[in-house]
Symmetry: D2
Subunit: 364 residues, 4 copies
Amino acid sequence: MEEEKMVFILKKNATETEIDNLEQAILSLGLKYRLVIGVDRITISPIGDEIGTQIENLEAMPGVEAYLKVQKPYKLVSRDSHTQYNHNQTRIVDVKGVKFGGDKPVIIAGPCAIEALVDGKPVHALTEVQSENAEYPIFEIAREMKSLGADMLRGGAYKPRTSPYDFQGLGLEGLKILKQASDETNLPCITEVVDTRDAEKVAEYADMLQIGARNMENFELLKEVGRTKKPVLLKRGKSSTMKEWLLAAEYIIAEGNDNIVLCARGIKNNVSEEYGRNQADFDIIYELRKETYLPVIADPSHIGGERGRIPSLAMSALASGAQGLIIEVMKENAKPVEVLCDFKQSLMPSQMKELMSRIKKEYN
Amino acid sequence: MEEEKMVFILKKNATETEIDNLEQAILSLGLKYRLVIGVDRITISPIGDEIGTQIENLEAMPGVEAYLKVQKPYKLVSRDSHTQYNHNQTRIVDVKGVKFGGDKPVIIAGPCAIEALVDGKPVHALTEVQSENAEYPIFEIAREMKSLGADMLRGGAYKPRTSPYDFQGLGLEGLKILKQASDETNLPCITEVVDTRDAEKVAEYADMLQIGARNMENFELLKEVGRTKKPVLLKRGKSSTMKEWLLAAEYIIAEGNDNIVLCARGIKNNVSEEYGRNQADFDIIYELRKETYLPVIADPSHIGGERGRIPSLAMSALASGAQGLIIEVMKENAKPVEVLCDFKQSLMPSQMKELMSRIKKEYN
Amino acid sequence: MEEEKMVFILKKNATETEIDNLEQAILSLGLKYRLVIGVDRITISPIGDEIGTQIENLEAMPGVEAYLKVQKPYKLVSRDSHTQYNHNQTRIVDVKGVKFGGDKPVIIAGPCAIEALVDGKPVHALTEVQSENAEYPIFEIAREMKSLGADMLRGGAYKPRTSPYDFQGLGLEGLKILKQASDETNLPCITEVVDTRDAEKVAEYADMLQIGARNMENFELLKEVGRTKKPVLLKRGKSSTMKEWLLAAEYIIAEGNDNIVLCARGIKNNVSEEYGRNQADFDIIYELRKETYLPVIADPSHIGGERGRIPSLAMSALASGAQGLIIEVMKENAKPVEVLCDFKQSLMPSQMKELMSRIKKEYN
Amino acid sequence: MEEEKMVFILKKNATETEIDNLEQAILSLGLKYRLVIGVDRITISPIGDEIGTQIENLEAMPGVEAYLKVQKPYKLVSRDSHTQYNHNQTRIVDVKGVKFGGDKPVIIAGPCAIEALVDGKPVHALTEVQSENAEYPIFEIAREMKSLGADMLRGGAYKPRTSPYDFQGLGLEGLKILKQASDETNLPCITEVVDTRDAEKVAEYADMLQIGARNMENFELLKEVGRTKKPVLLKRGKSSTMKEWLLAAEYIIAEGNDNIVLCARGIKNNVSEEYGRNQADFDIIYELRKETYLPVIADPSHIGGERGRIPSLAMSALASGAQGLIIEVMKENAKPVEVLCDFKQSLMPSQMKELMSRIKKEYN
């Protein structure tokens, strides 16, 4: 119960009738109220176990100057509801033994998309004939990431792309390849889901489901991944506030799924900068630790937009309290024509090796 | 020296004199130039050690099409692909006789959501028993809007709400009520679709499908409404660029559905203002007219966030070139407790009447 | 006295000692307080005639959860302090008979900068010899604006430019020319002041002083123009909130100068758009009317950045409640090489004529 | 077809093989190309009916310098103009032996403002009588910072405050106190200058001049501090782009003063977040290293806005490449009523000690 935080400030010249009307309106919502007559100002606080959002409508009543509300709109995801966790400690989300929120940062690595090369060239979709001859770079990448000490494998099968003419992912075929690479290397895998109709199917193949930035407020999709009970990586929307982000998590948890890891991936730059793909937002991690008991990792690749920027962003994220990283990696010395997705921002294994050793030196 | 990066693109029909004049103007700035005669296009690049900002002024010279602008990524929605339309003219999108892009602004009005009152109180969902006794305010609102000269009826049956605990719409029951109110008043109706699985069903009942701001980059949903071939109202994303918006339209049109109307609904405020719900973005309309042949309307209700702000926003949108408005209206003197959705920003019919007469005075 | 709007919310587990300490801290600031013991929450409101900003520091005291403040930080500029004005009415600022805030919109027009042509070419500064032969386009522009019915003449003598290599204005020489053109045409003139050391001198020549967007928080300059007692046009900062803007006006008025007109000139675009120079911000005018009794005009030229955009922006501003416009105009068919400043966004007199007739048709 | 607008700029030392490889890569995408051998630069423009987004990937190929980027408007501050510095190395700015841009991070610490306590209470201004009895907390703070290993002392004598009713600094009296504390502890001192008329006077007392965020585009002030030839700390404007920031530095350097250190201090938050004072902007440091040869430090205090946030922000800044920090510190356990400026965001010496030991552990 946090009802004391909500209060109507009445206008100085509010009439008795106006005050009466406000009181009646509050009662009609099934609530009680507290009237406080101050030196030169009257305030009325609604009281009740369940104060809905309708109460806000009363701000428009005559005689009301303002309606102050400090109450947090999210409940299940909030730290306040989980007093078993000490200050600064978060929930452990376990993905086949990989522990988000544990003692050391979790490193997820892999290609932007699961891609297929036929005759050395990437294809946008696979015919049956092609499938037989196709090569899948993800296998090699997965083995290299395993040897470098990464914890999980990433790879997109359904890709949300700004243009309808860009590569949209290999779909089900991609899922199968991802699962195979995951099984071979014993790295649990994560992939994005973009359609309510696919959630169940994706959950069959992947160990963790990703909700991308563009779908953070696709509420039907959030409910659907909630129902799968699979661990979810929930990326921050392109320009979402912390409150909107936590309410998106609340949609998932309200379906009974609290296996949620948040992922900071930058926000739209607000000063029209020409560099970078997004504005780094690692300072939200400190605030998240206060507000929620869910662990949070960071995605330097989508912030940087260019491979040279990734290492400093990664170290900066960890210094800000990120409990893990998700990083795009491609084959060593891949040629631009061999990669359909995020070539510019993907690290090469040799660069990833260097970054992993910096991370281990500081955080193990 | 980076002179090769700057280039004037000449118009295809640029005359020799115009080309000469541009060359002379460049020389008069103390610069040299390089003329490149391309496959079907001529470009001129200024050369010099110090090229000042004055060079940009030459973009306004006759015969010059552009000065160093990036290629447009959208095709089917672009004005360039539709030369049958004169400058400033847009495609007509016809919804049961209502013509977006025609001679006068199209006015869409109605409640935020289709709501049901049982025993005078709004309910979040209807049981069968309740359905029999329920009252639906939308009928009265629809009749009043018809009498005021509105062209179409709005009302949400599936509501995307930031909190999972807010009213999510009456669903199928709501769709049926909307259709009934639409048939009775002979006002074509529009409603939002939020799930790929619902698109077909919603298309059965509604005359126009709305894609909300939160789903502007829900690409699977865009494809799905594209496949219905129904007219679509595509709202701008909360912080989308014009390019991202037009690419979202391109997803719909790429499925063979070019019955698209764009809707400016404001963007997230970038200076942390405490007033208003969104920052008005009507200045994008001028730019849209240059880039696309699709008509565009505006949504003052979701920008204003408070009823007093709506009229000036509406007039400002039309003055900016909006070809219609979509406005939230509730019952006259509705009490806050009687409305579940957007009470604060809904106009009352008496206020709508006043606004309609201002619009008719200026635009009929 | 608005002290009831400020309140400390105590933590649920606040100890008696913590509450005592907060009370003592409030008393030590020379204030009294009111303690309210709610159902499960205690609040303390400080009371006093003058509650300084130090009170906010107490939010950091143990036991305090939050400090709510609704009080407006500006006083002299606020509508509340000027009850002689009816709702929606603003103060009249009189500049030599031109009345801002009166019955019809005030139109200020003229070149971006006062420029000089020597041998038909613009010069960055004038030698004595050049002065004798120089031509000044502002004279012709001023006469044309007068004939079109404009109310005031604009022209910059000191130009704040993003690059040190751009034309910085003709300085004192420019001031003299502006004054001459103003006297000849009987149009009161306005020009920008950018340095505390120049304020007095500029006030000798100009009828109204302009504070540009970049200097909105140059507080020493605000104080200095406050001391001149001349009418001031205060542009909004590039990304200022309404509160910051009104506090800037408060700096001027605190020096005893309440001859202030606000000028909306757009804010930095927050979605990295590639069109326009700034994001139109006309929806702030509705809010300003509620908060302040000062009149407000708009600057479509610096929002548009390109001449084709100006007319729709101008009409949109007036529809939003702007009480005037300031518009950049150059000579008819001026060549790019003849204009040093804002060529692309300056209207030609023939275009200005068309706009003036649209304005007169609707607002006279 | 607009193919001429896209162009690869080749490096001056690009080899024939590199050029061949780029041509082959373009052909492999199904495109043609145009080679232009310029005065001292070679460019290649891809040609084709449909040029996809993959073409951008080629920017990463050896021999390619850039792909369709706009010309840089700043010159003297750019890295290109200072080829004596190796990649990632910056100019050393020496302030009385303290070396910005050297081997280890420079730590500047001290109170927000130089304040005076009379009878234990802070005063807004000092009368002569008061001066005799006043205590100045900066002396104790300075000694403690010295003992912790800080390199320089900060303290404001002229404070730009959003409200005219807030403490504006002790002025000349403050300068003298700062100088005294600096001399006693042998810590070079820095203070802000806010008025062109004060620049010379401040330069007499301070070892380094600070330009605050609000004055970053106060060009007359920039010129004036340029003329003093004193080292300058140039903070980023509240919502400035990197380009605007570097052009502000260009104003200083154009006056012959290249002793400039840049300071990232966050930008306005663009998603209306309620936490923090500004959005951290440390990812600009990577980009600055590419664009300019000037060193850059960070100000975690003005980003955090609250003392608990400072340590993680500080470590994050250094991980991002910041070459120093400027941090606000107050007396241990100071009471809120004893501090006029930035109480909430000032570290206590005990907290500063902990931070210093983290910094030394990692960076010495």
